[in-house]
Symmetry: C2
Subunit: 679 residues, 2 copies
């Protein structure tokens, strides 16, 4: 069996499924009236953002390609120039494929939102399917392109570091897509809420609000394209790290086999997912995840027996899969609107917004514990399970746990992209005047999306954690393969300690820069909205035919997002290079460890407390503690606004930041060995 | 020269200075009217809390003594029983001496507050001196008892682990004093503000408010006794770690010499500190710190030359001293009310409380960077400086950097205890009706206290960071001395990694429990205040002769503080033991590293963002962005309330938590070696 070829075949299959879903969704009817034209505004806005983002990215890629040609994997005057060229090509392939997957995702998401809104007139079933299959196009495209890309590159070069460069290309894109999209979406969301709901008292998604289209665009660019790029990146990074560690042991086939089976399970999962006439969409999404998980476990177990893979390696993969499920489950427990923490945050709001914040923040800190413990146990268990296989295997075991956790990523992305599509459908139904019955159904679909999102976030943070340990191990392996020296990364080595300390500061500074970016950009957009209400006659009163200038708000969000993102991105890369050139390879080991630990803590804290504040507000709006308009509600709205950049900008961008840092470090290993002050 | 004897003599000198200051302050006049009786209420309240705290502590100590007798340093049936008895005695001595120092501190602070209020009638000079010399009694008592205790114990036993047990005794007390006092003070502060300022619109320190005495008691038990115990603990821990590392190298004398010179410098510093008639009290405090720093540097340099100590060891100490100054300075930069971050947080408040929170939180994250970098550089530099001296010296260098940073701790505590004394003086002047001129002067003194406090916090967090690295090194040395094995604590060792991950979760869970404790307890006290306003006729209207039931509020704060603190304290100790018994000594190494890194990050974030929110409110109250009563002001009050448990409960308690964990780990090394599942 040629397993890379197998992975490529499964990838092609996933493209067929994506194409089928694309046509299926596209063939659904669109309601008459202005729905189509509003949908087009959202679609054009999303494309505008993507184009601007990709244009800036192109410059960034240009600079990186230049540096790769000169310095990577080794300075061109010291190594083989062909290696540098291959690596540059792999890097470009990673970013371009991820960009294409993002483009496809936005393309279908901005069709599926209109279709889901239209279908909701006839009940929940088709509307759910429009949202889910729209999301699944993204899921299939992302996993298919990433797996096919890695397999082809490996087949052609047989060089594991090349796959790392491919992964770094995907990471570069993810940094722009996730952090930039996160700033965009929260800029628009906060500005729309503050001016619309708070100042004017008009409902969410009211077409008079100049930011309303930008807000809907934000769902797409932040949650569809951004999350897709993030998981593209994590998925390929976990595979790349595993390949680096598996290569010296002759176990690369297993990685492609399991990667292929993971995608195959997701294909089956998305094909069978559906909801009954009176069905529960949340349960349908979760069932899809469980079915995919079970299929993957069974298929890989059978393949391990039949093809004679190491059973212990399968077990390590399985441990990762289970840990992912547990982490996702506990995130849901903390952020679910039927859980105790959310109810307590809502109750604290009765005493004022300060208590909303303190309580949500405290539970956010607490919520980090089970996830961190889950990662710790998964790493320890997968290591110990593979220890009897001999040197090199234990660390491969950890990397397989990461692969296992991400094996069902096709399903995860499908569930995740479903959320913004049905959220958009709700907005379009409101703006297009489709009536209260439709709003009720889209609200129900939207709530299911929120729960799925909490699980996905837990999953992706956990996966990033394990992936980065695998990357750290891969880093050690690269240094070993080049120098024969096995780095021990001892904490009491002052260079390792120096790296550890600087490593913990990076995610803190990174998330601070992103959040301040959102805050500044939202203030700019609020000023623009005030201007429009002051200068456009009849807008405030809702005079028929008077429309705000939606594009100005989209432009502000776009330009601001890119502008605010660049310092954060550059800081991350420059800090990594600075630590490497000062402290050498040992310092980088500590730096990566500090980066993972602090990054996980902050990511979990911010994602989960943000989710709790959001759902505490919804819990109060559902009629608890005084309901809408009460003091508790006002307090919870403040909590929700604080949570917006926590949970949708900074929190989930930290994943990407961690991966970028690890890949820059791994690829620069040779440089750090050759040139560093203390190392 | 017998250096432990030298240290004891300097300690005795510090007691003489403390006694002199005590008498000096006590001899100042007290204003007529009800000032004395209000002062007595505060004093009695503080004693009530201390007695309750010490009673609970006694039980805790009893349990620990029992465990020490059975298991430490080695199980009694495996080692020498006399060692266990000596260790138990050292443990008790540490907690009792720290308790006595705390008692003395409260005793003088609750006299000096009345005297400072009275003296403010005649201008700033004597009032400042009353506050400062009152604080200096605490400073001298804390450093004198801790240094004398360590010196006597070492002279008697010549056993470095015994000094660790002494330090653990001090830590036990610090955990209760700092975290318990922190919950007490913020419970009262938040409840008083919410009911008084927000609901009723009565000024701060209005005697009608039932929580007003508890609020003033809180300043004493949280900021005087709590901070004193915390720095007692850090100081002795740094000395203990240094002794463990210095003993095998025959360099113990140096530790006692430098400890003695540090105290001597502080004695000179507090004796010369004073303020001119129109002088600036903030500058007077800072000048005292700079003078002490300079004297210490010069004296130790001279002693190194004269007595032939290693110059490189002096340099390591000096590096720590400088790093402490830099860290203190940058904390001040971020939290000073004349700095840019505070102005930006205040400006963001114009857009509503959510922006206050987001901006303050972001700058809090940013502020962690310079301090963390300072610690990283100090550790690296002090290690490298001592590397040429041979094996063992580099880690001793790091521990000396911690000793250097804490050398001027006598001066630091004096400055720090000054703050709550003059804060109290302001409250007493308001309640005692001493008039606006007095309030103006006490406000001025209070503002200087806030600045000094920011510097102190930066200092104590930095010192805890370095101390714990030193403790980790001490831990390695203890294991080496018992087994000959040098633990490398490699990050890729799965047990170390497991420890690292669980270690980062502990400060997160610890601070979450404390903050939730404050939130719950404040809600209880708010309910009690409402009850009193409803049930005591004439109270709300301020009828002459009608007084609230102050003691009930003090009781609620006391009982609640102890109750809420216990789970957090036990969790910390149990987590350490659990990790040790599961993963053994390697896991504990990772655990300590995770604990320091996450602890530093959270402590800096919470202390600094809390300080920024506090000062942003003051900045607006000074007339900026609309001044008192504006929307920006309301938003900043919410920020300040969120910041209260951040900066005065959770943030500074993390120091203590880190030290407790390190000491439990170090003392349990033998146990973990003998009994652990994976280790």
């Amino acid at each position: 069996m040629n397993w890379p070829i197998f992975a490529i075949i499964i990838s092609l299959l996933s493209f067929l499924v994506a194409a089928y879903f694309y046509r299926w969704v596209n063939a659904l009817p669109t309601a008459d009236g202005n729905l189509a034209s509003i949908g087009k505004l959202v679609r054009d806005g999303a494309y505008t953002f993507l184009k601007t983002e990709y244009r800036v990215l192109l410059k960034f890629i240009g600079v990186v390609v230049f540096l790769i040609l000169l310095f990577y994997p080794a300075p061109i005057w010291m190594g083989k120039p062909l290696d540098n060229i291959t690596m540059a090509v792999a890097y470009v392939a990673g970013s371009v494929l991820s960009a294409i997957a993002g483009w496809i995702g936005i393309s279908i998401a901005t069709i599926a939102n209109v279709k889901a809104a239209t279908a909701a007139r006839n009940g929940i079933q088709t509307s759910f399917m429009a949202g889910f299959r729209g999301g699944a196009v993204m899921g299939m495209a992302v996993v298919g392109t990433s797996l096919a890309g890695a397999s082809i590159l490996y087949l052609l070069t047989k060089h594991s570091e090349i796959v790392l460069a491919f992964s770094f290309g995907a990471s570069s894109l993810a940094l722009f897509a996730k952090a930039g999209g996160g700033i965009f979406t929260k800029t628009a969301d906060i500005a729309a809420d503050l001016t619309g709901k708070v100042e004017l008292g008009i409902p969410e998604d009211d077409p008079r609000n100049p930011a309303v289209i930008a807000d809907n665009v934000g769902d797409n660019v932040g949650d569809v394209a951004g999350m897709g790029a993030d998981l593209f990146d994590s998925n390929i990074a976990s595979i790349a790290a595993a390949i680096v560690l598996a290569a010296p042991l002759g176990q690369v086939d297993l990685i492609f086999a399991f990667g292929g089976f993971g995608l195959l399970s997701s294909i089956i999962g998305v094909l069978v997912a559906r909801v009954g006439k009176k069905g529960n969409p949340g349960r349908a999404l979760n069932n899809g995840t469980y079915i995919t998980t079970a299929i993957f476990a069974v298929m890989t177990f059978a393949a391990t027996l039949y093809f004679g893979f190491e059973m212990r390696l399968w077990l390590a993969t399985f441990i990762g899969l289970m840990a992912g499920t547990v982490i996702g489950f506990t995130s849901e427990l903390f952020t679910s609107d039927s859980g105790k923490p959310v109810a307590l945050v809502a109750e604290a709001s009765k005493s004022g917004p300060a208590f909303t914040i303190i309580t949500g923040f405290s539970y956010g800190l607490l919520s980090s514990f089970p996830a961190i413990l889950g990662i710790a146990v998964a790493a320890l268990a997968s290591y110990k399970v593979c220890e009897p296989l001999g040197a090199g295997y234990p660390l491969l075991g950890i990397s397989l746990a990461a692969v296992g956790m991400l094996s069902i990523v096709g399903m995860i992305i499908s569930n995740d992209a479903y959320g913004p599509i049905v959220d958009n459908a709700r907005g379009l139904a409101e703006m297009g005047g489709l009536g209260d019955k439709v709003l009720e159904i889209t609200d129900q679909l939207d709530a299911a999306g929120n729960t799925a999102k909490a699980i996905t976030k837990g999953f992706s943070i956990g996966a990033a954690g394990l992936t980065v340990i695998a990357l750290l191990a891969a880093y050690q392996e690269i240094v070993r393969s080049k120098t024969g020296e096995i780095l021990s990364f001892s904490i009491l080595d002052p260079l390792v300690f120096f790296g550890l300390m600087t490593g913990i500061a990076v995610p803190a500074v990174f998330s601070a820069l992103l959040m301040m970016g959102v805050s500044r950009n939202a203030q700019r957009m609020v000023a623009e909205i005030h201007r429009q209400f002051d200068e456009i006659p009849g807008l405030r009163e809702g005079q028929v035919g008077v429309l705000p200038d939606y594009t100005r708000c989209i432009d502000i969000a776009t330009v601001g997002a890119i502008k605010e993102l660049i310092p954060a991105g550059l800081m991350t890369i420059i800090a990594t290079l600075a630590v490497g050139f000062i402290g050498g390879v040992s310092a980088i080991g500590g730096f990566l460890a500090g980066n993972i630990t602090a990054g996980l803590l902050l990511a979990l804290l911010m994602s989960n407390s943000g989710g709790m504040w959001d759902n505490a507000k919804k819990f109060i709006e559902a009629g608890n503690f005084g309901g809408k308009g009460s003091d508790a509600h006002k307090a919870s709205v403040i909590g929700d606004t604080v949570g917006d950049p926590f949970k949708d900008t900074a929190g989930p961008s930290i994943n990407t930041q961690i991966t970028v840092v690890s890949l820059v470090a791994s690829l620069s290993a040779s440089l750090f060995m050759a040139f560093s002050i203390f190392g």
